[in-house]
Amino acid sequence: MSRRWQEALGPWFVVVALFVLWEGVVIAARLPSFVLPAPTEVFATLMQFAGPITQHSLHTLMTTLVGFAFSVVGGVALGAAIGASQVAYKAVFPVLVGFNSIPKVAIVPVLIIWFGIGTVPAVITAFLISFFPIVVNVATGIATLEPELRDVLRSLGASRLDILRKVGLPRAAPYFFASLKVAITLAFVGSIISETVGSNEGVGYLMLQASSRFQIPLVFAALVVVAAMGIGMYAIFAALERRMTGWATRGMDQAAYATGH
């Protein structure tokens, strides 16, 4: 088998192997399905409840994308602001780290009190959790501009805005796209957390309902869907990254990217 085929099939092989191992353990240890259902049972449940699972998953996906969109807009704006100014960077960064350190699950109840049970707290949680890596990456990309290049531009009479537009933002693009694939999966986690704490729709809600009724196979079926969606979104943004910033992998040191998380 050629190298390319090995690389293409490798991930599938690992996934299948994992399911086989899982099935084997369940059979060998005779685990009851309310402890750990076998993959075959999980997939059977997935088929059986395909309708509700799809409906709830799409809801979670929408919630995630809305929260993520907010964090892209806000993250780029704040990242550009603090990347372009040392003073702003130093002033804002500690607070940012502080916010990021708060477990989001602790905020959700507060959000529910403010906005009620439903989609709004989930969108906000998705936003809060995915915002930080975007800010850090955009700021890093802009702030790590070579001093010589800054001197060249300043001695041409470039304004701060010129430097940001001509060099800062393009330079931050690879960092930004690298952060997107991390941020989208975080946003997904954020909306599910919020749905689990208080919602009446979404995959998180579905899982909470299922586990309170001891429908453990359904919980696992939902988890499998969640994982698959996570991989899908990561793959989409990784592909976008490759498309948008091909120059970076050749011209620059890729190891320098901070991914934030």
Partner: protein
């Protein structure tokens, strides 16, 4: 030399960096309009600091810096600069890299879009004079180090600055490429006669290119000697083997050795 011909003038200038490093002290230098000046001196003696003082990127702690008859208070606006690191933008083609200053410097900036064709023609002509014809659409990472440095020179000159500042531009290149670029730079200078200040560690480079060579002392740096290079132009590689050229290089080497011992 009459006063009105002086283009760059530093009078008894000192600069202390934030950390307390006294980089230059009592630095006095004067460079005429259209002159090619080289600055040599021991490592860390304040040569790059001198460049920053002249371009207004670092303010003097004491003393006056005057360029083109005006006291330098902030960054000068239309200087051309090139460094050891070519600092080309990897997401722009070579041509677009060279065009960058025109997108920033007035009066070009205002009409950049309208005159784009004209600017492209100029940039292509400039790239051709440094031997980069046919590489306009390549990205910097597709060029060799020497080619990148040529492009960097073009970027420093496209907006026709009166003052070109070069801080060890050829230091990272091999000897053959470096000597080729001496000729390229000399040709450009003979055509355009901008005022040029070149910092270098290569004394042959200084003597080949400059009208005057300023030797700096160890840190805190000041100019301890100014040598006029009276070799006719255009100078060629042959020139570098002539006894007078070699004498001048020897003389400068001895002065720098003294400056280093004095440190």
């Amino acid at each position: 030399m009459r006063t009105e011909l002086k283009y760059v003038e530093l009078d008894n200038v000192s600069l202390t960096y934030d950390g307390g490093t006294l980089a230059v002290e009592g630095l006095t230098i004067s460079i005429a309009r259209g002159e090619f000046a080289a600055v040599v001196g021991p490592s860390g003696c304040g040569k790059s600091t001198l460049m920053k003082l002249i371009t207004g990127l670092a303010p003097a702690s004491r003393g006056n810096v005057i360029v083109a008859g005006r006291e330098v208070a902030g960054p000068l606006k239309i200087v051309g600069m090139a460094f050891q690191n070519p600092t080309l933008l990897p997401w722009r083609t070579t041509l677009d890299n060279v065009l960058l200053p025109l997108e920033i410097v007035q009066p070009y900036k205002a009409t950049f879009r309208r005159d784009r064709e004209k600017h492209i023609a100029r940039a292509e002509a400039l790239l051709a004079t440094v031997g980069l014809k046919g590489f306009e659409q390549r990205y910097p990472w597709q060029l060799s180090g020497g080619m990148q440095q040529r492009a960097s020179l073009c970027r420093a000159l496209i907006h026709e600055p009166d003052l070109l500042m070069l801080d060890e531009p050829f230091a990272a290149l091999d000897a053959f490429t470096r000597e080729e670029l001496w000729a390229v730079l000399q040709d450009l200078w003979l055509q355009r006669r901008f005022t040029c200040i070149l910092v270098t560690h290569d004394l042959r480079e200084a003597v080949y290119l400059a009208d005057t060579v300023h030797v700096m002392s160890a840190r805190p740096g000041r100019v301890i000697e100014t040598t006029t290079i009276d070799i006719p132009r255009p100078r060629t590689l042959e020139t570098t083997f002539e006894p007078h050229f070699i004498d001048l290089v020897h003389h400068l080497r001895a002065r720098i050795a003294q400056a280093r011992v004095a440190a």
